[in-house]
């Protein structure tokens, strides 16, 4: 099990890679990939019982990324876990590449094709029901954006997850408070969020979505027996790059050459500081 410090170092390198590949492709969802990176880091490096060697095992844990647009974060983490060489991302968003701008099962390690919002939770519920039917014991995780919560299908899923008492199911909300038009609370307010999920019958925990220890504690086991878990991860869009943090235009902004150099400079400095020398 990697230490918090090792995870912090991974996250810095992941952020660097996310920016590198978005810059290379000339497209990508920068802000949301950076906000959910620490969540993915903890999931894949501490929580999920899945690896390239076990990806065909029917009893593997499932991760379904409902906020499919943040695929660059997922690609970078999957590559680090050995699902494919990171150099595959040279083709990101290119002609006939499997690495398109949203997850597809053509990429090793990806469970579901997503991209249209409000789809991940019902699929995750079906998977969690299958786990229970077969007594397979696997857990299912799905990552939702907070802007995504305006899709009504999420609330159909919120009813069903609680109705079936799916304690092998965890919803994680990457609550970065921004969507393409502006503040989520101004576009379509979903607060009070914890109270809503709680009222639907879910076990809810609100945490700092960049805190590895808090993420680990909230995700390593179901929050409560007999209830599905909802982890509200308070995050910062564009996390890790000073001028991208909490700025709406980075939703799918691609950095200019100067911005890219500046961002990498910040991340490299942080890597040096944390690792005590070598990058």
């Amino acid at each position: 099990m990697p230490t918090d410090r090792e995870l912090a170092l991974k996250s810095l390198r992941y952020r660097r890679s996310v920016l590198r590949w978005i810059k290379h492709a000339g497209a990508g969802h920068t802000g949301g990939s950076l906000s959910c990176l620490d969540i993915l880091n903890v999931l894949y490096n501490r929580v999920l019982r899945v690896s390239p060697a076990t990806f065909a095992d029917p009893k593997r844990d499932r991760y379904i990324q409902s906020k499919g647009h943040s695929v660059e974060a997922l690609f970078v983490v999957l590559a680090d876990c050995g699902f494919f060489p990171e150099s595959d991302l040279e083709t990101l968003c290119g002609y006939q590449s499997d690495y398109v701008g949203h997850p597809t099962r053509h990429v090793n390690g990806i469970e579901q094709n997503t991209g249209a919002l409000g789809h991940g939770l019902p699929i995750a519920i079906g998977s969690a029901l299958a786990s229970r039917m077969d007594d397979a014991g696997f857990r299912v995780f799905t990552l939702l954006g907070d802007g995504e919560l305006a899709e009504g299908s999420n609330w159909e899923g919120a009813l069903a997850g609680a109705h079936y008492k799916l304690d092998n199911l965890t919803v994680i909300i990457d609550c970065n408070t921004l969507q393409i038009t502006g503040r989520t609370r101004d576009v379509m307010n979903h607060e009070p969020l914890a109270e809503k999920w709680s009222a639907f019958g879910w076990a809810v925990r609100t945490i700092d979505g960049h805190d590895y220890a808090a993420l680990t504690e909230a995700l390593e086991k179901p929050l409560e027996a007999g209830k599905p878990s909802c982890v509200i991860a308070r995050t910062t869009k564009g996390k890790g790059v000073s001028f991208m943090e909490d700025v709406g235009k980075w939703h799918h902004g691609v950095p200019s050459d100067d911005e890219y150099a500046k961002a990498l400079g910040e991340l490299d400095a942080a890597i040096v500081k944390l690792s005590g020398g070598a990058r």
Binding site: N113, L121, G126, A128
Partner: protein, 336 residues
């Protein structure tokens, strides 16, 4: 007490059916439910998912016999299809059952992305399809489903014409390991004669009657009316008409279509669907792209505010009954 629904068959049509020796079967929906139950008893990975639709889907006995193989999602079609996809992704052979009108409209994005794009073994079962719920109005009609699903990659579209085709289509779907759309009505149907003894297969037409005057290429619950029309035309006008059941709208049996065009003087398609984007336009596309031409007519529901009434009323209104199809055939041969 409400008045009984008017019969789907006129006295003349019933007389033709009797001469042909046709026996009345049951609704395809009932055939589906019994077939699924039989499959589910031997394969615990068969799972039905319903949206408050187990009654209308005749799945009460399935639920009672196999309670661990049925999932109720409530009145929530998006959730129905998403959950079906999730089950399918984990090794289940899923039948997602809901009225066709809701299933193929409200949850179309889930069918497109969660099932077809992600390629999971889910059979989407549209019940009480077409104008089966005729009198309930347009909210409850599915006259768009062939058109929208034809435009989505990786789904087989099947509209069985009788109990035999329904039973075989359910079995084939369970064995297919790919997305399928099955479309069932709720009216009892005649058993169609097995003139063609080839086993049922997706993408294969079934010839019910030979002839080279007019070819009727029909699908689903209109096939019987085409068969009756062909028999009626033989008796009243000495015409020998070919009747093909095309249970699979996609992939279409293009060979059977082109053979009919080459060998017959005229072609009429019949479907319980809007004329835009359904069987008729699929057939027309095949004919035109083969560089062929023929006298051709699409019988279906026109692009207008749909006539009100029972399924029988609507079939009669739009010329999908025996009399209407026979009249269309005579008109087409006369060049009008």
């Amino acid at each position: 007490m409400s008045a009984p629904a008017p019969s789907m068959y006129s006295p003349a049509a019933k007389a033709v059916a009797e001469k042909l020796g046709l026996k009345m079967g049951r609704a395809n929906l009932e055939e589906f439910a019994d077939t699924l139950l039989a499959l589910g008893r031997t394969d615990r990975n068969i799972v039905a998912v319903t949206s408050d639709s187990r009654g209308s889907g005749k799945l009460g006995p399935f639920g009672q016999a196999l309670p661990k193989q049925i999932v109720e999602v409530g009145i929530a079609e998006q959730n129905l299809v998403g959950i079906a996809a999730g089950l399918g992704s984990c090794g289940k052979k899923v039948f997602a059952v809901s009225p066709a009108c809701f299933l193929t409209a409200r949850s179309l994005e889930q069918i497109k992305n969660d099932i077809c794009y992600s390629d999971h073994p889910v059979t989407v079962v549209g019940i009480s399809a077409g104008v089966s719920y005729g009198a309930l109005g347009t909210t409850h009609h599915s006259l768009h489903d062939f058109a929208v699903l034809r435009a989505i990659n990786n789904i087989t579209i099947v509209a069985p014409a009788d109990n035999h085709e329904a039973r075989e289509a359910v079995r084939a779907s369970a064995a297919h390991d790919k997305p399928v759309y099955l479309r069932f009505g709720k009216a009892p149907l005649y058993h169609l004669p097995a003139a063609d003894t080839a086993p049922f297969a997706f993408g294969k037409a079934r010839q019910l009657r030979a002839g080279n005057d007019v070819a009727f290429l029909a699908s689903g619950e209109t096939v019987i009316h085409a068969l009756l029309a062909a028999a009626h035309l033989a008796e009243t006008a000495g015409l020998q008409c070919r009747v093909l059941s095309l249970p699979t709208i996609k992939p279409l049996d293009t060979e059977a279509v082109l053979t009919a065009v080459r060998e017959c003087r005229a072609v009429i398609t019949a479907e319980e669907h809007m004329i835009n984007g359904g069987l008729g336009e699929a057939v027309a596309g095949v004919i035109a792209q083969a560089g062929l031409a023929t006298r051709f007519k699409i019988a279906g529901i026109p692009d207008e505010y749909t006539a009100t009434g029972s399924q029988a009323d609507i079939f009669r209104h739009y010329g999908l009954s025996m009399e209407g199809l026979a009249e269309t055939a005579r008109g087409l041969l006369a060049g009008s």
